[in-house]
């Protein structure tokens, strides 16, 4: 507990002025614009939108700028802003099956309808710092990855501008292309069909190591000219493919009940799965990552496969009372992860794969995967599994996954606690005086000091 303090107004004013000055940095360097943040730090924007639980790229960029890049502070700002707006209603649930897919991979099937689309990914990059980005010369340079500078490709067409209309703000950067072997994306032409040169088998892209049921597989990457000509076909969910054979449990049916909303009612337990998913979708990426990791290491083993990850744009629509139909509101970028986990069966039901699900704003693959892992581990009771680990404890997970709540309680410790502490000082002085008096009385056995709880 802390009590009000007075004074310090001038110091606080000056501290905030100093903060503004430090935020601005060196005045001889141009100030960063929101368009630069949304365009060039788009994954930071995505994270603030997801954990701020507020989809608005510009607002998220403003929050990042104001918070000097402190993403939890930016998330806090986004959460505070949302409380100033009225809510018009709940959307029609988005259909991720109808997504405009920009990336879609499966770790369970190498050949699947719609194919594997890497999209703008860090996967298979070598994690070598690219010095050309340091000099801002990257825009003009031939944008192969740093490690393949020998491949001379003078006629690479320039990248189309990644501006408005990309929606997600996630135009693939050439830096993301595997080992620089795929030319910078441009409208496809037949001369771009190529296989990786066999002389570079050691590169990650040339020999992608995949986990499969039977061991490691190698892979070759190529850009398929004929595939590029075909219009993007439908991309059924991997879970639907398994579902057709009854090999995987179906998703819980929609019985028309509106989902509970933890922004309208305090989180209470037991939490049903939709409520848990809401909490996880806005939960801290680091916390969920660590919990997901713990399940893989054996704390609530759930044997996951990534059935599918897809990223792209989905349309959002809202049923407007005054119109009597659903109004399309535009598109948002989301990442979805379907995990396929080990089995559940019963006397009446043959064994089936089970599932975990992750769905988040923006291109946040690590978050979506962590969410799917934790969603699955939280289902232990429903699936008749033993409870043995923190990642299965919904009260532990859901009560601590919100980083705005967590930071509020941790950081309140730095606020003035002078009165509390004065009381504790008095207490410990009294205890020490009693102790000294007892020692003086030569008591043979040391009396146990009364245990006092520290005040909050």
């Amino acid at each position: 507990m802390y009590v009000a303090v007075k004074g310090g107004e001038a110091a606080i004013r000056n501290a905030h002025a100093l903060l503004a000055q430090r935020r601005r940095g060196d005045a001889s360097v141009p100030e960063i614009g929101l368009d630069q943040i949304t365009g060039q730090l788009s994954l930071a924007v995505d994270r603030v939108m997801a954990e701020g639980s507020l989809y608005d790229r510009e607002l998220a960029a403003l929050a990042i700028k104001q918070a000097r890049g402190d993403l939890i502070e930016a998330i806090f700002l986004a959460r505070a802003f949302r409380t100033t707006l009225p809510r018009f209603g709940a959307s029609v649930p988005v259909d991720t099956g109808a997504m405009r897919v920009r990336r879609r991979i499966s770790a369970t099937f190498k050949d699947l309808p719609g194919g594997q689309v890497l999209g703008p990914t860090f996967d298979y990059t070598h994690r070598l710092l690219d010095e050309r980005l340091a000099t801002q010369a990257g825009d003009d340079a031939d944008r192969t990855a740093a490690e393949t500078t020998t491949s001379a490709r003078p006629n690479v067409p320039p990248l189309p501008p990644a501006g408005e209309g990309w929606g997600g703000g996630t135009a693939p950067t050439p830096d993301a292309s595997p080992a620089g072997e795929i030319p910078a994306p441009s409208l496809p032409s037949s001369d771009r069909t190529r296989l990786l040169p066999s002389s570079t088998p050691e590169t990650e892209a040339g020999n992608i190591r995949l986990r499969s049921g039977r061991g490691f597989t190698g892979a070759r990457v190529h850009t398929s000219g004929e595939a590029a000509e075909a219009p993007a076909g439908p991309m059924p969910r991997v879970t639907d493919l398994l579902g057709d054979e009854g090999l995987i449990e179906p998703a819980p049916a929609d019985d028309g009940t509106p989902p509970r909303d933890l922004t309208r009612e305090p989180l209470s337990f037991p939490a049903d799965r939709p409520l848990r998913l809401q909490a996880l979708a806005r939960g801290d990426e680091g916390f969920l990552l660590a919990l997901g990791y713990s399940t893989q290491r054996g704390y609530a083993r759930t044997h996951p496969f990534v059935g599918e990850i897809r990223f792209g744009e989905v349309e959002v629509s809202l049923h407007a009372e005054e119109l009597g139909f659903a109004v399309p509101l535009g598109e948002i970028s989301v990442t979805e992860c379907q995990s396929v986990n080990q089995f559940k069966g019963s006397a009446t039901q043959p064994p089936q794969f089970t599932r975990g699900y992750g769905l988040v704003f923006g291109q946040l693959e690590r978050k979506a995967m962590s969410m799917a892992l934790v969603d699955r581990s939280l289902r232990f009771a429903e699936l008749g599994e033993e409870k043995s680990a923190p990642a299965q404890d919904e009260e532990f997970v859901l009560s601590h996954c919100d980083n705005v709540q967590a930071t509020g309680f941790v950081e309140h410790l730095k606020l003035p606690h002078y009165v509390d502490f004065q009381a504790e000082l008095d207490l410990i002085r009294r205890m020490r005086a009693e102790h000294a008096a007892e020692a003086e009385a030569q008591a043979p056995d040391v009396a146990e000091a009364p245990h006092k709880e520290a005040a909050e």
């Binding site: 608005d56 099956g97 405009r100 292309s177 892979a219 959002v316 407007a320 139909f325």
Partner: protein, 166 residues
């Protein structure tokens, strides 16, 4: 948990238009307004200048929509997070009521969309409004083609290889 966002009070709602068979068509137009830029919509409105007098039934207002997803992609819904939305409603002198809802905080764009929605409901103007949006359709189609081709260029084929030690 921060304090909850206030529930929007139902403000004098615009009169309910007749539910018509062409609501699908109207939805398609609304999807276009939502994906257009403010400049594009204002340019489209400009084509119908001089406009009849526009009465603002509902001045542009920013708010939130709770975006829902579905468990497993196709199951029971859950609340994923909110998105900012702007809505507006106008009535044209002697004409229809136009309504708009769109993602983002964009009062001018929402108002332009509401005006276009009202104009479009006039059978005499429907085709003209449709034509006025042609540049938007072209831009979106070109961008979609580019984005689809960029994604397609990253399509992989993985070939399973046998392990050496077997």
């Amino acid at each position: 948990m921060g304090p909850d966002a206030p529930v929007s009070e139902p403000k004098t709602p615009p009169p309910v238009p007749e539910a018509t068979a062409d609501s699908t068509e109207r939805q398609a137009m609304m999807a276009l307004y939502a994906r257009a830029t403010r400049a594009e919509l204002e340019a489209a409105v400009e084509r119908f200048s001089p406009l009849p007098q526009v009465r603002k039934l509902r001045p542009p207002e920013a708010g939130l929509v709770m975006v829902q997803g579905r468990t497993g992609g196709d199951g029971a819904p859950f609340n994923m997070g909110e998105a900012t939305v702007t809505r507006a409603a106008v009535q044209l002198e002697g004409g229809a009521t136009g309504v708009s809802y769109m993602l983002g905080r964009a009062p001018e764009k929402a108002e332009a969309a509401a005006i276009l929605d009202a104009l479009w409901q006039d059978p005499a103007l429907k085709l003209a409004v449709n034509d006025a949006l042609a540049p938007i359709r072209r831009r979106l189609a070109a961008e979609e083609a580019t984005a689809a081709a960029e994604a397609e260029a990253t399509k992989v084929n993985f070939f399973t290889m046998t392990r050496g030690e077997d």
